[in-house]
């Protein structure tokens, strides 16, 4: 009899914590840019339509960006990027889903800057890899913003760089992400 009471209480507790106001923040104008430095050429591209959501209560985070929305200065470079390297008709987006770890409770009402660790799974070019990176999360005036940068090895995601252009494209690419979130219900 006692055990059943405990179980019911546990269930109630579990459901209650789920129903607790899930504070989510979202952006559809997140910025992602990457940079490749090679002996013959520097390549840079920017995507200003990255979508990201953070659930502040569960500390979960998800990010999605369309490959075709990366803009290059040279349109021919953009065409090659999509056609030959990223095969964006086959793999239209790059995604991340994971969790913020090792961080204190983040509340919209408390301004502060937090260095956090984000752990999860990164998907590029159809290849999924466990991923972690450090990020800076800032809460100010009830709004959240996040910044991170990390390096990606093209080989890890089966992005083939032919020998002919090895001096034009780096094997390790620098990636920068910058988000300004708005609260959503």
């Amino acid at each position: 009899m006692k055990i059943q009471v405990v179980v019911v209480l546990m269930l109630l507790f579990g459901t209650a914590s789920m129903l607790q106001a899930q504070q989510k923040v979202m952006t559809k104008t997140g910025e992602a840019s990457f940079f490749s430095k090679a002996p013959l050429e520097d390549i840079e591209a920017h995507n200003k339509q990255v979508v990201a959501i953070i659930d502040l209560s569960s500390k979960e985070i998800a990010v999605k960006m369309l490959i075709k929305q990366f803009n290059f200065e040279k349109s021919l470079m953009q065409e090659h990027f999509n056609e030959n390297y990223m095969e964006s008709d086959k793999y239209p987006s790059a995604t991340f889903s994971g969790k913020i770890e090792e961080s204190p409770e983040i509340l919209l009402t408390e301004s502060g800057e937090y260095e956090v660790k984000i752990v999860g799974e990164l998907q590029i070019h159809g290849i999924k890899k466990p991923w972690e990176t450090m990020a800076t999360l800032t809460v100010k005036d009830g709004k959240v913003s996040a910044k991170t940068n990390f390096k990606v090895k093209t080989a890890d995601f089966k992005i083939e760089i032919p020998k002919l252009v090895i001096k034009n494209i780096a094997e390790t690419i620098d990636v920068n992400l910058n988000f300004s979130f708005e609260p959503i219900s």
Partner: protein, 285 residues
């Protein structure tokens, strides 16, 4: 004991996988995007004729094209290599849809200029358009002096116009096809030739690797009134793309590199060995 374990398991399933739920939420909210089909052909030419591809805004393309002499002209002429025709051309994207071109041909010392307008672009996503349609109009001026008088003939007599509707479809990653209804107008003709001639072009390309493709082209003319010794132009070749360059290497029975020439003035019979080896080399800046 059993109900205790059962309830415990139930509680575990109440919590979704980390982050995955959020990603699904993003996907659910995504609006359909305009998805233009890119690179139906690697460059602005299939072989002799134009493809639906136009230059992007402010992009500048430089082209050099060669057609050597006939392979069946024998070893003394080094199978045609000794006898080359050149076309230099420049193409500029006034906008993503409108390209302006200028060129000069050593063959008959002809200058050519054209406008190319991408009317419809094949796309999926927000709008579904199954084909690309580009309009093409060119004017050619033959600046060859009359050998008898050593003077340029009357200006309007030396002009020829070509109008085409280029209709293409990228069928899949490897194969694209195009049909090109064409109209070639000579300002000056002699009976029984007519000023206007209609022709239908067919072009295709098949990618054998990421950067190499095999291209083929044929124009079927309505040759009523045309000189007996003119033939439908055929061309077959290979495209190699490297970074900003496209190399096109091919064999064709056409000596001229502009529409009014290769569509209407081809005097070579491909199957009798009147074959010209040639190449197009383009660089986009």
């Amino acid at each position: 004991m059993r109900p205790y374990i059962f309830s415990l398991l139930l509680v575990c399933f109440l919590f979704p996988a980390f982050g995955q739920g959020l990603l699904d939420e993003i996907n659910a909210q995504e609006e359909p995007q305009e998805n233009l089909v890119a690179a139906t052909f690697k460059g602005s030419r299939i072989i002799n004729g134009h493809s639906v591809i136009t230059r992007k805004k402010k992009a500048f393309e430089f082209l050099i094209a060669h057609r050597f002499g006939r392979i069946n002209s024998g070893p003394y002429e080094f199978f045609g290599i000794d006898n080359a025709n050149v076309r230099f051309g420049f193409e500029y994207g006034l906008s993503d849809r409108l390209t302006l071109g200028l060129g000069r041909n050593s063959f008959e010392k002809t200058y050519d200029t054209f406008l190319k307008l991408a009317l419809l672009r094949q796309q999926t996503g927000k709008k579904q358009i199954p084909i690309s349609v580009t309009l093409f109009s060119s004017m050619a001026w033959k600046s060859l002096k009359d050998p008898a008088t050593e003077k340029l003939p009357k200006f309007t007599r030396t002009l020829a116009y070509t109008h085409q509707v280029l209709i293409a479809r990228k069928v899949n990653k490897k194969f694209s096809a195009q049909i090109t209804p064409s109209l070639v107008h000579f300002n000056f003709v002699q009976e029984p030739q007519k000023n206007m001639m209609l022709a239908m072009g067919i072009g295709m390309r098949y990618k054998i690797t990421e950067r190499i493709s095999i291209n083929g082209e044929y124009f079927l003319r309505n040759d009523e009134g045309e000189p007996e010794d003119t033939f439908n132009p055929i061309a077959i070749g290979v495209d190699i793309e490297t970074g900003g360059h496209v190399f096109q290497v091919h064999f064709t029975n056409a000596r001229s590199m502009i529409e009014k020439g290769f569509i209407r003035e081809t005097t070579g019979d491909f199957f009798q060995g009147d074959i010209h080896f040639g190449f197009n080399l383009t660089r986009v800046f």
